[in-house]
């Protein structure tokens, strides 16, 4: 049986369903990424804090890094919902499960990124009369984000792939869509090839987006996007410099006279 004996046209015929599946996967992952970024950052700060609070973060990170996505989503959808008396939608359950796991991963990424920012910058901030919170948001965090971005991108790709396990709770993501199509067409090889391709395309797209965002954080701004974003600031600085230059020249001339 050669490759040409398969009905590859199925992929094109069902492109809409497959793309919808990826759209669902991306939606769940994106919401979960936003939540994990905030929670992960909080955990990282806690983790770097005094021992009286850091153990909470250490405990959380070590437990949730170890739970597989499949177990996590079943636990949330069939377990946690019973305990809390809330019936989650499959979408919500997916978001909660992913957020729980990836908050732990992102906490470690942010912790190492914050540690990589030289302590001297914090000291300089103190010496200049800034509060620790001001230093965190204006000095440490912007540098840490730049360091963390490539790893956050990888985590995001991991999240999208982990949504494939949410087929067990019936989330209509790529694998679930594929399974449904296989059930009616009996072409698993063709359809799972399509699923694989669509995951790879998504991974490439995410990588591209993160590269663009990283470009914004490069100093001096090099990429087109980075330069475009800084253009207004650049003009403002040029204006202030010109003004100061003019006033100092005026003073100098006063002395000459």
């Amino acid at each position: 049986m050669s490759l040409f004996d398969f009905d590859w046209g199925l992929i094109w015929d069902n492109r809409g369903a497959l793309i919808n599946g990826m759209w669902t996967a991306l939606s769940v992952s994106t919401v979960a990424l936003l939540i994990s970024t905030v929670v992960g950052l909080l955990l990282a700060v806690l983790r770097n804090g005094p021992r009286s609070v850091s153990w909470i973060a250490v405990g959380y990170i070590n437990v949730f890094r170890g739970v597989p996505a499949l177990v996590s989503v079943i636990w949330v959808y069939f377990g946690l919902s019973l305990v809390l008396g809330i019936s989650f939608s499959v979408f919500q359950a997916g978001v909660i499960a992913l957020s729980m796991l990836y908050s732990a991963f992102l906490a470690e990424i942010f912790r190492s990124a914050l540690t990589a920012v030289p302590h001297g910058h914090t000291e300089a901030g103190w010496a200049l009369g800034m509060r620790t919170s001001q230093i965190f948001f204006s000095v440490s965090l912007p540098q840490a984000i730049k360091i963390a971005l490539p790893n956050i991108g990888s985590m995001y790709i991991g999240m999208v792939k982990d949504t494939s396990t949410f087929t067990v709770i019936g989330l209509l993501e790529v694998v679930r869509v594929t399974q449904n199509l296989v059930a009616t067409t009996f072409q698993p090889f063709v359809l799972y090839t399509a699923a694989a391709i669509i995951y790879v395309i998504a991974a490439f797209a995410i990588d591209l987006v993160f590269r663009l965002v990283e470009g914004v954080y490069v100093r001096p701004p090099k990429a087109l996007l980075g330069r475009a974003i800084r253009a207004r600031q650049r003009r403002n600085i040029d204006k202030i410099v010109a003004k100061t230059r003019a006033s100092s020249l005026a003073t100098a001339q006063l002395f000459v006279k």
């Binding site: 009369g129 000095v139 100093r219 100061t244």
Partner: protein, 265 residues
């Protein structure tokens, strides 16, 4: 004493005026190891103080105690008459917070410590916005003026990675200067620089000194120390061995100071 003294002050200590920084019986321990064993030092308005001595002598620790980057274990640190250190139990003085102290005392570091994600202008502007609550445009205009003073106005839009070490350190000087501090501390400001870049930083420091700013410098540049030092303090093993006014480098009396100066010549 918060008013600026406009007249030229005589070199060396001035017994009549209260010192702007007064350190008494300052001790500092790291764990079990005591590194400062009771330091007494008076710094007056407009005075240029040089701290020198072998490495590990505690000169940087003294300097870093003045803005509480190192917190003294014992002793008194008064700035403008306000107590910021542990103080002495019997005194019932006005006490100030670390934040209040640091808004009066500027600092320049050996490693520059510019913020790499901000251009030179914003490095100078950021602390003004955060510590003094200035608006972005006020802070930037004031920052541009400070950069002009160190000769780097034309580099305002450059990022630290685009500047030489000497230029970075001059931005750091402008950054400290722009906050209008009462005192500026320099912690080995030229030690991380290529030899050919030392001169431009010393020139900016000299210009700051000439405005009448009170400065405290830890340095190994003895030519510069000779030139600006109104009060020169030789430290070793966590103690002040000897100190003296201008001309101290040729007239010091202790054997250890003479020996040290001979070795570094």
């Amino acid at each position: 004493m918060s008013t600026r003294v406009d007249e030229m002050r005589p070199a060396g200590g001035n017994a009549v005026k209260t010192p702007i920084v007064q350190i008494r019986g300052l001790h500092k321990s790291f764990g079990q190891t005591e590194v400062l064993h009771g330091i007494n030092l008076d710094i007056h308005q407009g005075e240029h103080v040089v701290l020198f001595g072998p490495s590990g002598s505690g000169k940087s620790t003294v300097l870093r105690s003045i803005n509480l980057l190192e917190e003294p274990t014992k002793g008194s640190l008064k700035v403008d008459g306000v107590e910021y250190g542990p103080g002495f139990a019997d005194e019932n003085l006005k006490r100030g917070t670390k934040l209040q102290l640091r808004r009066k005392v500027g600092m320049v570091f050996q490693q520059f410590n510019l913020f790499p994600h901000l251009c030179a202008l914003d490095n100078v502007a950021l602390p003004q916005r955060k510590a003094q609550g200035k608006s972005m445009s006020d802070a930037r205009e004031h920052a541009a003026e400070a950069l002009r003073k160190v000769g780097l106005l034309e580099r305002a839009g450059h990022y630290p990675s685009e500047l030489s070490g000497g230029q970075q350190q001059r931005v750091a000087i402008a950054r400290a200067l722009a906050l209008d501090p009462d005192v500026i501390l320099f912690d080995e400001p030229t030690s991380a620089l290529d030899p050919e870049l030392v001169g431009e930083v010393l020139k900016s420091m000299r210009e700051v000194a000439e405005t009448g700013m009170t400065i405290v410098v830890v340095t190994h540049e003895f030519g510069f120390a000779r030139e600006i030092g109104d009060l020169n303090v030789f430290m070793e093993n966590g103690r002040i061995v000897e100190s003296g006014p201008r001309g101290f480098y040729d007239n010091c009396t202790t054997e250890r100071a003479k020996e040290f100066l001979k070795a570094v010549k």
